[in-house]
């Protein structure tokens, strides 16, 4: 997708949080990317690290991308599971009354700062 603009948004949030916490240096950012979010983890990390170089308090920071698999929760059997393909069907009971419980997110989880 837009790894460059997403990386910019992540850095903006990190810079604001850093300032709000009265800290001076960002070490690491953890983000969670759903398997269906259409984001390439390596590409995002590369863009993040290149863009961080231009910002003194952020230079050298690393981006850790946790890929979250697609998970569906079944409204019939109550189970939660990872379907082998992106299909909205419960792998346990076969019901299609399921909802996505993760796998679409694009979230900043936490920062490590100094």
């Amino acid at each position: 997708m837009h790894e460059l603009s997403l990386a910019t948004s992540i850095l903006d949030v990190a810079a604001a949080q850093l300032a709000a916490a009265g800290r001076t240096r960002l070490l690491r950012v953890e983000v969670a990317v759903g398997e269906l979010a259409a984001v390439l983890p390596d590409n995002l990390a590369f863009c993040f690290e290149v863009l961080a170089e231009d910002r003194p308090a952020l230079a050298g920071a690393h981006l850790d991308v946790q890929v979250r698999p697609l998970m569906v929760r079944c409204r019939d059997c109550g189970g939660e599971a990872h379907p082998p393909r992106p299909v909205m069907r419960c792998p346990a009971c076969g019901s299609s009354r399921v909802e996505v419980s993760s796998g679409q997110e694009l979230e900043i989880v936490a920062l490590e700062v100094e």
């Binding site: 949030v13 679409q104 694009l106």
Partner: protein, 221 residues
């Protein structure tokens, strides 16, 4: 060293603006949908037909996003409906602030229906909430019946799917049953509307769905 828990969407700024737009549209009693598809699947031609059918009964505004040119807005305006072109200048999808800017200062209570035609793209538009009620995805029969399987993100979020250019079915190796199976794998209960914009087949079923959604909304408060 210390850890700060953030737990915020990367697109939080977009999502906040979208939520504000959604609130304004709901307060004004406006139904809105975000029309998405790959380039050339016939979104604009479909919308021209839809506007021709609905313009006598509803007050409609169309926002149409493209990387360049006013061409689509010009085509849509020929129906007599107001259409505003959003030229993104390179961005391959619409974002909530762009939509908000084009609605700012308008009296939304003068509208019943807002149609947002996104930039042709099956990947990026899916990730950006614009503040719409529904995402509608068009898939043309010339694209291949496995498109939903290849682009699950957008079909997963679709609340209606329009299968366009069905008049070409005799000439292309597209199996509507296969396409439907792939769509249902991702969105089991989604309504699917086969249409031929050229011949007018199926347009009434799609506009009937839109009419139903408009009348299901609480009127302006």
């Amino acid at each position: 060293m210390s850890r700060i828990v953030v737990a915020e969407p990367v697109l939080k700024a977009n999502d906040l603006v979208a939520a504000r737009t959604r609130g304004l549209l709901h307060d004004a009693g406006v139904f809105s949908f975000n029309m998405m598809s790959s380039p050339g699947s016939g979104k604009t031609s479909l919308l021209v037909r839809v506007l021709e059918e609905l313009r006598a009964d509803y007050r409609i505004l169309v926002l149409v996003g493209d990387i360049q040119t006013e061409n689509d807005a010009r085509r849509l305006r020929q129906t007599g409906v107001e259409a505003i072109q959003i030229v993104t200048g390179g961005t391959c999808h619409l974002e909530a602030p762009l939509v908000q800017r084009h609605l700012a200062g308008r009296d939304l209570s003068e509208l019943d229906l807002l149609v947002i035609e996104n930039v042709g793209n099956l990947v990026c538009p899916a990730g950006y909430d614009l503040g719409e009620d529904c995402k509608v995805v068009a898939l043309s029969v010339t694209e291949g019946d496995d498109k939903p399987e290849k682009y699950p993100g957008i079909f997963l979020r679709a609340q209606a799917v329009v299968l366009t250019k069905t008049d070409l079915l005799p000439y292309v190796p597209f199996d509507p049953a296969v396409a439907e199976r792939h769509i249902r794998d991702l969105s089991p209960d989604v309504p699917i509307f086969p249409v031929s914009t050229l011949r007018g087949d199926g347009i009434g079923a799609f506009t009937g769905w839109i009419r139903g959604r408009i009348s299901a909304l609480p009127r302006a408060r």
